[in-house]
Amino acid sequence: MSEAHIVLERASRWYGQVIGLNDVTCSIGPGVTALLGMNGAGKTTMIRLLTGQIRETTGSVRVFGEEPFANPRVFRRLGYCPELDNFYEHQTGRQFVYGMARLSGFSKAEATRRTHEVLNHVGMTDRAGRKIAGYSKGMRQRIKLAQAMLSDPEVILLDEPLNGLDPVGRREFIDVLKALAAVGRTIIVSSHILFEVEQMTRSILLLNRGRLLATGDLSAIRLLIEKYPHRIRIETSEPRAVAQRLIGLPYVLNVQFDPRGQSVEFQTKQPNDFYDEVPKLILDDGLPIDSVTSPDNNLESIFKYLVAS
């Protein structure tokens, strides 16, 4: 893991008595990192801190090793796609992106070239000539994404990047993000749509009521959730027989039958041992198992377990 561009040490930020961020210590390195949390959990505050719009009350926030607040050197290598849907409505998409390029310090020719390239990247080349007032939600989002990737930044912050895009657009953009991450860029995506986040990345940064609840790789986190043992579901034509065999295993906590009678579900704290046992069940005991799946092995359930506990 090359050095992390973003480092927070005991950073906290209060708006008067209202809690924004409370004593967060973490570091964000290259690749896609998902910033998750309920409304009001501190995601927006974190993003505002990282994009240098506000200062931290205590602790320290370092982007590229510097204090990000109103710091042009940091902004030169940072791209930001805000969640707000406010634009200069009278401008056309191309004018807006061109203006942002020129304000980012590019010359007239360089700005035009980059604008063209970036608009192409988000698939807005043909429609960039129209006024933003007449844009649909998806088109406005693409323009925002375009201006975030203008200066080829090393760190890109995206607040609800896929908001309003249609399924084709969503898939296209997820591929674009993965390509950028593969090149070593640091991408932070704040989103509520968990099944899309799961397609983008495995490493998450979960905030809850201003505090850092979980950070790191998804599967590692799943193992550590004590309170909610792993649920594993086995679809089989003879649930009772399978259940009898399962009860014999020491690490199976409870067994549940599906009323429609075609599957068995049980909970265990050591999924590893069970998965080693499965070949024995199928090959040696010859139990007619159709499928073995884990219903709560996805980000939505993990998110619910973490936030609920």
Partner: protein, 253 residues
């Protein structure tokens, strides 16, 4: 890149929808001049010009300055597009300086147009008074814009404050005897434009108003000096304030 900030702001402020109203107001000067000449039975056209320039042109100047200074920062915060400016790799003081400069230019253009219209309709285009008025308008634009930008940074609902200052304080303070006029910008502007007092023929109603307006004024070089200090102080304060404070879209609205 710095010049782009200036030129983009200039283009923004001179958009047809925004500038149209000001052109109308300036052209209204023709009607005002005609009406005024018709009403002032006696008195030369220069009296009409002096009266109108005090009562009309030098009222349009602060109003334009107030509205255009809002567009520098306060309107961006209101429309939540400030985030795009704040996250650009530009030092914040440059943003303030160049955008205010653009606002000053447009304000001066509007007031110069108004003065020109008045001068044209009272055929005084080549007179000394007109050129002195132009200089006063230039200095006035700079002073008013820099002051109102500072006010817009500190107070968030600042439009009303600026307009109250421009119309209530600026009009009454010079009339009050004593040195209150030193606390207003109009006093110094009159010092620069050196308006002659209007002929005291018969106590015509309009003439009496204009005499009272032009009563107190500072000397010319004092006016230039104090205006320069005011502009420098306000801009410096704005730059410092904008660089150290946080500006983000408010959550509630």
């Amino acid at each position: 890149m710095e010049t782009y900030i200036y030129s983009s702001m200039l283009r923004e402020l001179t958009r047809f929808r925004r500038i149209f109203a000001w052109v109308l107001i300036a052209l209204a000067g023709i009607g005002m001049a005609a009406l005024c000449r018709n009403l002032m039975a006696s008195g030369s056209s220069s009296d009409a010009y002096v009266l109108l320039s005090d009562a009309f042109a030098f009222r349009v100047l602060p109003l334009a300055a107030a509205i255009l200074s809002m567009a520098v920062i306060s309107q961006e915060v209101e429309q939540k597009t400030i985030v795009y400016l704040l996250t650009r790799p530009i030092p914040r003081w440059q943003l303030i300086l160049f955008r205010s400069a653009a606002a000053m230019t447009v304000t001066f253009a509007i007031s110069a147009l108004t003065l020109a219209v008045l001068a044209a309709s009272t055929s005084l285009l080549t007179s000394g008074v007109f050129f002195r008025d132009l200089a006063a308008a230039a200095v006035g634009s700079a002073a008013y814009v820099s002051l109102f930008v500072l006010v817009s940074l500190i107070i968030n609902k600042s439009m009303i404050v600026c307009i109250l200052f421009a119309f209530v304080w600026e009009s009454t303070a010079p009339l009050i005897p004593g040195d209150l006029y030193r606390l207003t910008i109009t006093g110094y502007l009159q010092g620069i434009s050196q308006h002659p007092s209007v002929g005291t023929g018969d106590q015509d109603f309009m003439a009496s108003i204009s005499n009272v307006l032009g009563a107190h004024q500072a000397t010319e070089w004092v006016s230039y000096l104090s205006m320069a200090i005011l502009v420098a102080a306000c801009l410096a304060a704005s730059c410092y304030w904008f660089s150290t404070n946080e500006y983000m879209a408010r959550e509630d609205s």
